[in-house]
Amino acid sequence: MTGLSIQNLSMRFDLPNGGHVQALKDVSLDLKQGELLSVLGPSGCGKTTLLNIVAGFLAPTEGQIVLNGHQVTGPDAERGMVFQQGALFEWMSVRDNVSFGPDMKGMPKAESAEIVDHLLDVVGLQDFKEKMVYELSGGMQQRVALARCLANDPDVILMDEPLGALDALTREKMQSLVLKLWKETGKTIILITHSVEEALLLGERLLVMAPRPGRIHKEYRLPFADMGVGADLREVKKHPDYAPTREEILNMIWNMEEEIMGRTEESA
């Protein structure tokens, strides 16, 4: 029983004024080992809540997460997370950040040093090993975050808009890197993003979520991620299915946003 199974997940937040918000309602999903899932949706659709529950930072109101046959009850090294920005430890060098996971496990220095060296090679930061993280650019910092997550050899990698704060060019390079790491390591990856293009390129499966209550609206299975591994992503975008799919999803999200706006106007 390998893989990640999200079963009938519901999440309700109580508000201080006595009301409540239904952030997620009855979300179910099965991911096989090594699948790459991107999650897209308008703001307020509960995608970050979903990720936080999978990571174990939040306990769901109903439902459960099962990973490789056991239930998830809290954060654990088997589920690594890459954040948007500012989650690196700025008091540590690049090397210490990457070896944080192994160090916490009590892995011998020699062994962890090997892992760090290898991963910094993979993300192309070998020359920056001794630098402090605040001396690096935003893109480099996200490479460190990826390497830090991989150093723990997790079964699942959760990414919460990891490339959201990067400029277009850096972002494209990082997208290629994510695809490369996915293929090379065979990890299960859940990637949350705001960008439709990124969701298309980095999603073997693509989930569009709808808000109020947060739920799965539509799921796609896409060929672009496989095509993109080791290839020029701009070439992938020329695929005949790419533009129509992008338009379809954009319209879908656009309509949801319209609906939200309409609803707020009605209630006001």
Partner: protein, 445 residues
Amino acid sequence: MGQIIADLGGELITLFLSVLGMLPYLALYIGLILFALFVYTQIKHRLSPVQDFTSLKTVTFGDESAVVSNKAASVISVVLIFVIWGAFTGSAWLPKFLHAPGPFLGDARFTYTLETADGETAQAQVAVRVHEAGQKPDAPVVDGNEGLAQNDTLVVQAYRSKLLRWDANDVVTRKDGAKIVAVNATPISRDADVDVGFGRVALTDKGTLNFEPDKGWQMENIWLPAPESVWQRLISVSRDGYQNVTLAEHLSYSLFRVIVGFALGAAVGIPLGYAMGLSNWFRGWFDPIVEFMRPVPPLALIPLVIIWAGIGEQGKIILLFLAALWIMAIGARSGVSGVKISKVHAAYSLGASKRQILRHVIIPNSLPEIFTAARVAMGVCWGTVVAAELVAAEKGVGKMIVSASKFQDTDIVLMGIILIGIIGFGIDMLMRWAEQYLVPWKGKG
């Protein structure tokens, strides 16, 4: 209540008037600043008449990052303070032409005219000798005089005044009904005075003359000593001490109190702040105490501390401990609660335990805040120690200036104030340097 308002209103009017009186001097000072700016830009323009892009930049106004401290202005400002200080104290370090007019010193004469009861008048001269403080010159020599009035002599110290009992040697006296009617041929009446060019001569109620030499614009030594006398005091006090205590001893006692008090405050305050930042129970327990004690100025605790612990070292260290404690506790608390949740989440999902997160994430993340608090606490402690020593102490720089003020040793008071300023500044510099060295990641998360 109405009385209080009336009293305070009166105070306010007095204050307002004295502020108005200062406005011309303020305007003069601002004029000096602008004049220096004008001269500076003219010189700079002559030396390097470059019109580069920066010099043409217009969007510096309101752009905080574009406004940097002008070194020349700082130097001129500090030099000017010393020049003004020297000018109004007649400093030997300044060339004479920069001095403000000093008090009248030396010999001069004025005449008085007396009128007897039967209307006869007579004139006599008064030879005046004005001397500096600390000197005891002989009386000037005067010739004898024919007639009713005899010439007099008067020896006066600068900035003081002296009564002249003019009839002490005259043929007719006040008892005979003689009185002074003019000074330097200017008619004079009781409670009025006459300017004799080097001072003022007044006729008192009793009919005697009161001479007050011209004070000039300079400050008397016991009000404001010249810079060189402060410097000489610094040398003599650091060599011989003041009231049997050396300067090094005064300073080390003060610094010792600050360092020990601060260290104790930090040793208790930081764990307290951590406990408050990490546990609801401790937060709830200590919040009312900390929030109540924080706004109480440590100086207000001095009387209580003296009652409880006396004027020895213990009392002062308790005071400084209390001054540092709340600041450090609040700094540590906000350092802990200010940790970005994503960092804690990241550490959890990397497999760290609670203890490991405390050790490797929360503590290092709180260090910059703790350093900021330490800088503030050191400043407050330094201010508090001086104030506490002013109230009661046997040794310490505050004690030194307060006992000097009792003997009107203004130069020691001034020296002490300057030393206090320099040490306070030095402490802050040291803390900043330590901050840069120890927590270089500050503000870079």
